[in-house]
């Protein structure tokens, strides 16, 4: 049978798309905060150790499975070790992440336009929660038109890219958006470091706290961050590698992807903390009093910083939110490519049919759920459960199955990678995947479950956590079991 699977036009197309997937919202709003909270400049040490001890070994494992079997997770894991349901778990996780990620992306896109004239006014927190999100008490499903139209725009853009396929859609979009992101963000950083007070922000970010190195939580934070930042362990890199040509140097490409992702994170840390230094300077506060991360940094702190800049803040705001939007779109495309490819492989659907049903169906659910008064509640809880249990749990099981329970497979995958690799994998890869990576993930998962049981999450009432968080996990479990029971079908004619 001839191999009709789509492929990247060249290795560079794969690399730029993999970087586009890894560089997302988290690089801009998560890394700077995590690094600051965990030793500042000294965080570089656990961060580098985590890249080489856990991030790259797991990245190579994902590459090996996807590239060897040239399939998305369900079919690839079925062929590797008869573990199709593990693949469908990962597909369910990516589907759920795609559904809520669109929401955050639409907020960033909306704020890109709100930057002109700084439409959030003086109280950025009230604008975000009350005027923009129209956040309601508890679970309130009333319709919010502004959120609806933002979501429609995001889904139209993402589906247009996905309809183009791997080469003319995903690859082309990344070849346009990634250079654009670097240009936009570089201009932003240059502007930020010239602001008064920027030096104080950089001092806060880079001054090393060596005592923190003795705290195991700092090391755990570094391993956890790298795991999420590199998009490993939940099927994206596996799926992207399935479109590579057979004689590809996987290890050399992986190192470039990992270091490009980290290089962007350092740039983000400089830009964000220079801006926070200015915020402290202009409000007469200390940097440590204005530091924040995540949604609070992007939609509350940054608008404040932008407003402090006067009329010149419009461009600064546009650059920041455009960077978030562009970084987010390339990540979202990679997230949705996993379920699209999985259903193509399993049911023999054509590419366009898979995009229409999977991305189209996700768009409808996403638009219904996230144009409501509870959008931020859904985003917050689903994000926590999907990342900390969905991704970590799926990644952990895939490693344990290969490196603990079916060790001959590890040798097979190692041999597959080494066939054309410029950096050969040896006993150290084997050791890191057997001990370091699974143990760090096991500890992270244990701490998350313990925390949910003892403290709940985010101060939400138990019934909301059960409905939204429990519902998310039930979606993963039921989907993984039900879809793995479906019978495989032959490919349809295009």
């Amino acid at each position: 049978m001839t191999d009709t699977r789509e492929n990247w036009s060249a290795r560079s197309g794969f690399i730029i798309a993999a970087i586009g997937s890894a560089v997302g919202l988290g690089n801009i709003w998560r890394f700077p905060y995590v690094a600051y909270e965990n030793g500042g400049g000294a965080f570089l040490i656990p961060y580098l150790v985590a890249i080489f001890a856990a991030g790259l070994p797991l990245l190579f494992l994902d590459y090996a499975v996807g590239h060897k079997f040239r399939k998305a997770p369900p079919t690839a894991y079925k062929k590797l070790m008869n573990a199709e349901s593990l693949g469908w778990w990962q597909v369910m996780v990516t589907l759920m992440i795609g559904i809520y990620y669109a929401s955050v992306l639409s907020w960033a896109g909306s704020y890109m336009f709100y930057s002109f004239g700084q439409q959030w006014g003086a109280d950025t927190q009230a604008f975000f929660f009350n005027t923009y999100l129209q956040n309601g008490e508890g679970l309130s499903l009333g319709f919010v038109p502004t959120l609806f139209w933002g979501l429609v725009c995001v889904w139209v853009a993402v589906m247009l890219i996905l309809y183009g396929g791997v080469r003319r859609g995903v690859e082309l979009a990344n070849k346009i958006f990634m250079p654009l992101l670097v240009i936009l963000f570089s201009i932003l950083v240059i502007q930020a470091v010239r602001l008064p007070g920027a030096v104080d922000g950089l001092n806060a970010f880079f001054t090393p706290n060596w005592e923190a190195m003795g705290n195991y939580k700092v090391w755990l934070a570094a391993f956890g961050h790298i795991f999420f930042s590199l998009s490993v362990g939940f099927g994206i890199m596996l799926t992207y590698a399935s479109y590579l040509k057979r004689k590809t140097n996987l290890t050399g490409s992986g190192v470039v992807v990992a270091l490009a992702n980290s290089s962007f994170e350092i740039l983000a840390g400089i830009g964000v903390f220079a801006a926070l230094g200015f915020m402290a300077f202009s409000s007469g506060a200390k940097v440590e009093d204005v530091v924040s991360g995540g949604i609070g940094l992007a939609f509350i702190a940054f608008p404040k910083i932008i407003s402090s800049l006067g009329a010149g803040g419009d461009l600064f705001g546009f650059l920041f939110f455009a960077s978030l939007t562009v970084a987010g779109i390339t990540s979202m495309v990679s997230i949705l490519q996993v379920p699209i490819a999985a259903f193509q492989d399993k049911l023999g659907w054509s590419h366009k049919k898979s995009v229409s049903i999977i991305a189209g169906g996700s768009a409808v659910i996403s638009t219904l759920m996230f144009s409501t008064h509870s959008a931020i509640t859904f985003v917050d809880i689903i994000d926590y459960f999907a990342n900390n249990i969905g991704i970590v749990g799926g990644g952990l099981v895939s490693i344990i199955l290969v490196s603990w329970l079916r060790r001959p497979l590890l040798k097979q995958l190692q041999a597959h990678i080494n066939q054309y690799a410029s950096i050969q994998l040896g006993a150290s890869w084997n050791f890191l995947l057997t001990i370091v990576t699974p143990v760090s993930l096991l500890v992270a998962l244990g701490l998350t479950i313990n925390s949910i049981i003892s403290e709940g999450y985010g101060g939400y009432p138990a019934h909301i956590l059960w409905i939204v968080g429990g519902g998310t996990l039930a979606f993963f479990v039921v989907g993984a079991i039900a879809l793995s029971l479906l019978k495989d079908r032959h490919p349809e004619e295009k």
């Binding site: 001092n203 090393p208 040509k245 410029s422």
Partner: protein, 36 residues
Amino acid sequence: MNTSALMMMIISIVLLWGGLILATIHLVKNPDEAED
């Protein structure tokens, strides 16, 4: 900037950006074999 912060900033940039440049050069010097 204070000395220790400046040192850590320079080391971070040299290691990560320098590492990226070296990894890219390494990759270019090791092109993939042509498919049959």
